[in-house]
């Protein structure tokens, strides 16, 4: 029997963008204020899981053709890579650095290597959470 889920689908279309925006906001504010790659990643993952819930797995995979195991792996690679990167500059492992830049739209912005590390964490979290949910859903 096909469940009538028009309301869920309609709401999801809008809410997913709100969640994604909020996730990105949390992710970017992470290194100075509450938030960060882990929390941002969880929120981003929840948006993707919501898509899976309201549509079926095949539809989402058609528009989002990612192997989430590899997403998680590239996240770990990125995060550990920034740690290793500091070795190239003769600094202790996991050192971070930051500087202020004048960007056209944002004005004076702080850019830091922590953000790259956090991006790795976020990718790892998204990959792992979605993989877990998908594995559970495959289990009949």
């Amino acid at each position: 029997m096909k469940i009538n889920d028009v309301i869920l689908r309609t709401v999801t279309k809008i809410v997913v963008f709100i969640i994604l925006t909020f996730g990105v906001y949390l992710f970017l504010s992470g290194h100075n204020t509450p938030g960060g790659g882990f929390i941002g990643g969880l929120v981003l993952a929840s948006a993707i899981v919501l898509l899976y819930l309201s549509h079926d797995i095949e539809t989402v995979q058609k528009s989002l053709p990612l192997d989430f195991k590899l997403v998680a792996a590239s996240g770990v690679l990125l995060a550990t890579g920034t740690g290793i990167g500091s070795l190239l500059f003769g600094a202790p492992f996991m050192s971070q650095t930051f500087a202020y830049f004048d960007l056209p739209v944002f004005g004076k912005t702080e850019l830091t290597t922590v953000t790259i590390f956090e991006a790795g964490v976020a990718l790892a979290v998204v990959g792992v959470v979605v993989t877990i949910i998908l594995s559970i859903s495959e289990d009949e």
């Binding site: 550990t80 290793i84 500091s86 996991m94």
Partner: protein, 495 residues
């Protein structure tokens, strides 16, 4: 202080493991890369170990945050001897896995998880921070959960549910103990903890906290609380079982040694006596198990338990000689236990049977293999010139010095039981009339026998070359026996 090299034993396996995830379909490439990585790690460990001898204990403050504020890695001889041996043993187990584990495992991320496991093991040995120790434990355990269930046979799932539940429970205890410790002392840096415990005195509260740690690490090491061990170590494929038997309990043992020589060493009449009692009971129960069963894998698993008891006797009496003996014995045991598990697995692979009374006369079909069984028997029983001997003598010497005659008696009786339990395998399964006719003979794969022979060479050269490593071992025992050396290396210079 800048010693970025000491983070490599943690970070290289993780990064290589992740890269192997992308190379999933290319089994040959995965094999080559993982073996080269492990050999490279062994080389790096050896280099670090030698560097410690000339420059003293090395430390690395992550991100430049100085102790006690940041997280740090500390490499002393004790930690590096463990790291070096663990990496060599893992490399050899990988060689065994190439010819035995099967393509379905290899395509299901077997190599990445072995690398993650070794990363967690190395991290646990190297870290200088209690919470980081917890994190590294978890890295190791998560990888081991996957490895123990990989394949998904019924027995595996049955035993792994016990393994996972007991480890999650003990991890929770670990976390609670950490919270108590932080609440009581306001720090989690091991050297700083040691300093503060010495300042305020190890009162009843701190001793209680130390006993919680004792319970946690005993669960991980299989000291007295080993009820989960024989089952979960006997179900996974041979190469994985060998890795578990050789490495995982050693991490718990390492944590026990670190905690009770560096931090909680002020009330030996309570904590060390308790460790002594637990070690004694472990020896007795392990011996009963090793004699009672006929399944080769269970005999091997109970031998792990006996070894844990024996090594902890060295900590319980805590003289410099006994600590040295325990370190020797841990190194020996990693090599010899890996060998024992590989041999047990090979016997099952060759005959398809698991009980020793169903197997007979293997030496007629596979002479070299038969003699390897003899070598591991002698080695584990501590017969000179093989590697178990030095450790047993030194632990015995320590026990005599401190007058712990009961532990001494138990430790040496256990050696006889080890000898008996393994000779039983040798006499009933290796000697005697062969059950395999020439036509039915399954060829012994080269990878299998090569890795067993390599471990045999390891145990022989550890025994003959005891002189050669004694410098490293006595430096390690010196650091354990004098916590001020470790504290000075971590906190000295930035006060």
């Amino acid at each position: 202080m800048m010693n970025n090299i000491i983070v490599l034993p943690l970070i290289i396996p993780i990064m290589v493991g992740v890269i192997l995830v992308f190379l999933r379909p290319y089994v040959k490439t995965q094999r080559v890369i993982s073996l080269v990585t492990m050999l490279g790690m062994a080389g790096i460990s050896l280099y670090i170990l030698n560097k410690i001898q000339t420059e003293g204990i090395l430390r690395l403050d992550f991100g430049g945050w100085e102790p006690p504020f940041g997280i740090l890695f500390v490499a002393d001889s004790f930690a590096m001897l463990f790291v070096l041996t663990a990496n060599i043993v893992t490399a050899i187990c990988l060689i065994y896995a190439f010819s035995s584990i099967g393509e379905s495992h290899e395509k299901m991320y077997f190599y990445p998880f072995v690398l993650f496991l070794i990363a967690g093991v190395n991290g646990s040995f190297l870290t200088g921070d209690m919470f980081n120790l917890f994190v590294c434990f978890e890295v190791m355990l998560l990888a081991s959960y996957v490895l123990v269930t990989l394949g998904g046979k019924k027995a595996q799932l049955r035993e792994s549910i016990k393994y996972v539940v007991i480890n999650i429970l003990s991890s929770w205890f670990f976390l609670v103990a950490l919270a108590y410790l932080y609440g009581a002392l306001g720090t989690l840096n091991m050297a700083h903890l040691s300093e503060r415990v010495a300042e305020v005195g190890q009162g009843p509260l701190l001793t209680t906290i130390s006993i919680i740690f004792l319970i946690v690490f005993s669960l991980k090491a299989g000291l007295l609380l080993f009820f989960w061990l024989p089952g979960s170590y006997s179900v996974p494929p041979t190469a994985i079982a060998a890795l578990f038997g050789a490495l995982l309990t050693k991490v718990g043992i390492y944590a026990l040694f670190r905690t009770f020589t560096l931090i909680f060493y002020h009330e030996p009449s309570i904590t060390h006596t308790l460790i002594g009692i637990m070690a004694g009971v472990t020896l007795v129960l392990g011996c009963i198990g090793a004699i009672a069963y006929k399944d080769v894998r269970l005999i091997a698993s109970y031998n792990v338990v006996i070894a844990v008891g024996f090594i902890l006797v060295g900590l319980a009496v805590a003289t410099q000689a006994s600590l040295e003996g325990s370190i020797y014995y841990v190194i020996h045991d990693m090599v010899a236990k890996a060998m024992l598990f590989l041999i047990a697995g090979t016997m099952i692979a060759l005959t398809g049977k698991t009980k020793i009374n169903e197997i007979s006369g293997l030496i007629r079909n596979y002479p070299l293999f038969g003699w390897m069984v003899f070598v591991v028997t002698c080695s584990l029983a501590g017969i000179p010139p093989l590697s178990g001997f030095v450790g047993k003598v030194l632990v015995g010497q320590g026990a005599i010095e401190s007058g712990s005659y009961i532990l001494l008696a138990l430790a040496f009786l256990s050696s006889i039981v080890v000898l008996y339990s393994l000779l039983r395998i040798f006499l009933s399964s290796i000697f005697g009339e062969t059950i395999i006719s020439v036509e039915d003979e399954v060829p012994l794969k080269k990878g299998m026998i090569i890795s067993i022979v390599l471990l045999a060479i390891g145990t022989v050269s550890l025994g003959l070359g005891a002189e050669f490593i004694s410098g490293y071992v006595s430096d390690a025992a010196h650091t354990l026996f004098n916590p001020s050396v470790y504290i000075e290396a971590v906190l000295g210079g930035n006060k």
